[in-house]
Symmetry: C2
Subunit: 324 residues, 2 copies
Amino acid sequence: MIRVAIVGYGNLGRGVEKAIKKNSDMSLIGIFTRRKPETVSSEGSPVFPMAELMNKKEDIDVCILCGGSATDLPEQTPKLTQWFNTVDSFDTHAKIPEHFLAVDKIAKEHQKTSIISVGWDPGLFSLNRLIAKSILPQGETLTFWGKGVSQGHSDALRRVSGVADAVQYTIPNDEIIERLKAGEKLELTARDKHVRECFVVLEEGADQEKIKNEIIEMPNYFSDYDTTVHFISQKTLESEHKQGMPHGGKVLRVGETSEGMKQVYDFSLDLQSNPEFTASVIVAYARACVRLADEKVYGAQTVFDVAPKYLTQLSDDVLRKDYL
Amino acid sequence: MIRVAIVGYGNLGRGVEKAIKKNSDMSLIGIFTRRKPETVSSEGSPVFPMAELMNKKEDIDVCILCGGSATDLPEQTPKLTQWFNTVDSFDTHAKIPEHFLAVDKIAKEHQKTSIISVGWDPGLFSLNRLIAKSILPQGETLTFWGKGVSQGHSDALRRVSGVADAVQYTIPNDEIIERLKAGEKLELTARDKHVRECFVVLEEGADQEKIKNEIIEMPNYFSDYDTTVHFISQKTLESEHKQGMPHGGKVLRVGETSEGMKQVYDFSLDLQSNPEFTASVIVAYARACVRLADEKVYGAQTVFDVAPKYLTQLSDDVLRKDYL
């Protein structure tokens, strides 16, 4: 059995707890939190104060770090990698090289293995961007995100005077995707690739037309996009737009293998729960982390460094027989 | 530069010749054929008789074996792996374990690296079946093939008395795919997953209705499928259905990460040229083969054993900075 600790228990940690239950070769030693354990209601797994983590050192094969990328992981991943094999989902793209170097140094010094920036983007999408480009050197790769809720854009809506509550979905522009797949060469900015759909609850007496215009014309957020605004009740917002955390997206590469010979590579995810799926990816890579550590492959790794066979509990023989 | 030899020069070998031109770190030493070299017209690359291969041993980093799976590769891959790093596209699924063992033994004895069964299925599709299953342990994976020409079914049409020529397309059943993505649990046989479309040229005086019924009711090939038959002229068949070799398909996994929480993983290819795309995959893995040999990772490998970073000429630093 692979013995796992969850460090940090928000949406992602909760997803990891569920994912471990789906993997018969894994057991959860516990959830470690900075909050008071008695205030944390897990789904049946033991909850410990963070300080307890070191006492359970010998019982843990890998720590899955479920903190945030802004402040938690830059500190936690290097620190905990002194004592544990670790997996994190560090997703501040611009700071990944720096984070990698910090973790790699510690991991090599202490003979530990750490896989950083795991999830679907960064993660599976990164993998597909690399594979698609390697196979089709001539071509263009585009990443689309959604349909999913954008927290930043939802916040921008809620700051509009007269808006009581709101949710904003980022949606890939299907027309653009179809034209790309058909082989059209398009010069696209991020703004051409997505449309924005807003579900807005008004405060009593607010001016619907005025608010709609204010949203559609809001610079940076909406003015350059094809934006739709729907006015709905708070009840509908709660029941239809605040349940679950759907997301998804697509890595599309359209390449040519010879003059005019078009090849379309399309990797798509459609997720009812973003944190649960991210957690499921992380748990598969936690298995890889432990197996790599067993093989003394120490240091920081990313999804690019991990051979796919390490993700599964199936033997190499079974893989060749049933999966190839 | 990675110095490559192409062994065997049919559609696949021709695709490899084109793919090498798209990869700036590769040079083609030559095409090696059992035919008389003067009868082979390459796209500008030197053509040598097979016997010349051994004389060029010191000039070659990897041989890409482009023979057939039925008789060529079971003999050629083990034999040539005595002297060369090799990549093949052995695709007789049932015999892969046996082929792997034969090649692995030779490769280890002679300190060579061989990546077998590379392409898109087996190959990229295998990779996605494995990754999808590892991430979503609870769920179901289905592979769909097409739209593409099935040689066996086209042959069956041509054997019908009164048929002058014909082409048959296997087409994934889109309705089934949409129902699966929507989360329906379906018990499917191979036959539910695809529909068949036939383009038939009649001999003069042939009875169209009779032939149509004979096709639709043909056991094994058509009777259990939703089959459409179009009668067209030889000229249309030549111009619209015998140019290029389109193919493609889809690996679809619909899984649940918790009760009722559906996650859809979809990897799709839409290829205007099946052999050119297969060749492009093989060329990327030929790069991996040489890099693994440089790291003394000897023996037979499959796509499951190869970390994605080996497929590209980009450095690990660039990958982390720009692709993660």
